[in-house]
Amino acid sequence: MSAARRAMILTPLAALGCLYALILVHRPAVAGQAGPAFWVFVAVLWVAAGLALGGLSHLRLRNPGARRLVGLSVPVLFGAFLFFLWEVIVVGAGVPSVLMPAPSSIASRFAASLPVLRDDFVQTFMKSVLSGYMIGCLSGFVVAIIADRIPFLRRGLLPLGNFVSALPVIGIAPIMVMWFGFDWPSKAAVVVVMTFFPMLINTVAGLAAAGRLERDLMHSYAAGYWTGLIKLRLPVALPFIFNALKINSTLALIGAIVAEFFGTPIVGMGFRISIEVARMALDMVWAEIALAAIAGSAFYGIIALVERAATFWHPSYRT
């Protein structure tokens, strides 16, 4: 059977089968005491889904739109199937929710505690992460420009920056909590320190990326330092800077959440995670993690979109 026909037949069949299994597993007669026949059915679905995905990913399509659609659908279907397995195994085998809650119960908990989640999001993301991220990235950028102007400083700072970025910077969290108090400024301070060095290193590397020829051209135009910086070297450095911005978006969220483990007011994502873990309310913890995942991916995605718009000329975006 060709890959195309296999994918065409098996994908809808497997999807229907998964739907049926989901309905089946939530029946009181099955939930928690699924028999061997049910597990055989799930195993068959597993094989069918694997074959369907294999068929989809080997499809050769002429139409670029269809190709993009299939390229997107493979990872989406794969992820959906993983969630399906999680749900079916947890509900079907009756795994206690203190060990591993099912995705459905996490989703319902998420929907039920939206106000709490919103407060945590505002505290951790809008206050600590965003302010710390902006201060950290901006100061890293400014110091990089200064270091670029003074070669002595650059040669001194760059090895140190590389060294520091391999250190467990997150450990300064308790000190920052002591200095800046329990509320969000201490978390923002941790984020500032965590995001400063990646920005510094990447910007300095980016400023050195302009080629000899281009610099000579600017020189022959009698362009001064600032003209050369703004018209040539900063645009060339943009991919590096965006790289740092993307790395920092993840680091900032991690820094803020982990810093909250060291003491916070009674709101915040890290606080909620540590307190709900202690109460064994794992569905709330997972809801909080889902929120963190959504926030982190959205943050990263927005920066990636801005990057695409700002560095459209870069080879990696040319088609």
Partner: protein
């Protein structure tokens, strides 16, 4: 001519003396020195209020010089001076018996062992995933996007869950922390290994085909050797974040042993010098681990004939 002949030796001599400044050593030393000086200034400035308050409460009148000295000798300063941290490090590393719970080496060892176990697990997982992704197209299309997007979520947030869940089914101690480390450090290894395994170009793969080499032979003789420099680049990143994972993994268990526990205990009891000493210990550990992996990288690269970049 004569002036040229005269100036030449002088210029050479000046070059020799400035070799220190030509490289990075001189500037780095100056920057480090500046950091230390700034540190002392900051320590005096930040501890000033606490010291004057303490003297006022005791009802003593002290001169500015005495206050200045006292800011560097406080027991629980806002910011301990570097020499206080070094003294604390000496006290907790050399003066204590190694088996004591108050010895920093004991805590460092606890953290190091879970770092290394997690690093080994994560490297294994990372390499296996990379090999699968390179050889199975379905996995490349379906798994790779998820591996990449898994990094945009703050993974460390699930550390408490792993600790508590594994703890509730009776697995405690080293293993849960190692899982967190492994989860953190598999990613850079997978990414760089995939890059490395796909780095041989068409010409080299065609050569293997003209030898009628099988997939397995191509893997062992071409792809794997070509991927080693990339693998080590990933390993260097991985060992650093593996340590971060181990330290963060020690936080939710409530301070029993390890550098992270030391940080937490220090922050509970306001022992700033202890926190800083633990931080320095972690920094020394991290740089030693990265240096060891870097050494391995250099040995492998020189044996593979890769020139240092």
């Amino acid at each position: 001519m004569t002036t040229e002949a005269l100036t030449l030796p002088v210029r050479q001599a000046r070059q020799k003396s400035s070799r220190l400044w030509k490289g990075n050593t001189g500037p780095v030393l100056v920057v480090v020195l500046a950091v230390v000086v700034l540190w002392y200034v900051a320590a005096v400035a930040m501890n000033w209020q606490g010291v004057t308050d303490a003297f006022e409460r005791a009802g003593e009148q002290r001169s500015t010089g005495e206050i200045l000295l006292a800011t560097l000798e406080q027991e629980r300063p806002m910011l301990p001076a570097p020499h206080q941290i070094l003294i604390e490090l000496k006290k907790t590393v050399i003066d204590m018996p190694v088996t004591s719970r108050r010895n920093l080496l004991f805590h460092g060892w606890v953290t190091l062992s879970s770092t290394l176990l997690g690093f080994a697990l994560g490297s294994l997982l990372g390499v296996v995933l990379a090999v699968l992704i390179v050889h199975v197209k379905t996995l490349e299309r379906s798994l790779m996007p998820w591996i990449i997007s898994s990094q945009t979520i703050p993974i460390l947030a699930i550390a408490p869950i792993i600790i508590v869940v594994l703890g509730s089914i009776g697995i405690t101690g080293l293993f849960p922390k190692a899982i967190i480390s492994a989860y953190l450090c598999f990613f850079p290894i997978t990414i760089s290994m995939v890059k490395g395994l796909t780095s041989p170009d068409i010409m080299q793969r065609d050569l293997m085909r003209t030898y009628s080499a099988s997939r397995t032979q191509t893997f062992w003789k071409l792809r794997l050797p070509a991927s080693l420099p990339y693998l080590f680049a990933g390993l260097k990143v991985a060992i650093a974040i593996s340590l971060v994972g181990a330290i963060v993994g020690e936080l939710p268990t409530g301070a029993q042993a390890g550098l992270g526990a030391r940080l937490l205990a220090g922050s509970y009891y306001g022992q700033t010098i202890q926190i800083w000493a633990a931080l320095f210990g972690a920094a020394i550990l991290a740089s030693a681990l990265v240096a060891i992996v870097g050494l391995g990288e250099r040995i492998v690269n020189s044996r593979m004939g890769v020139r240092a970049a």
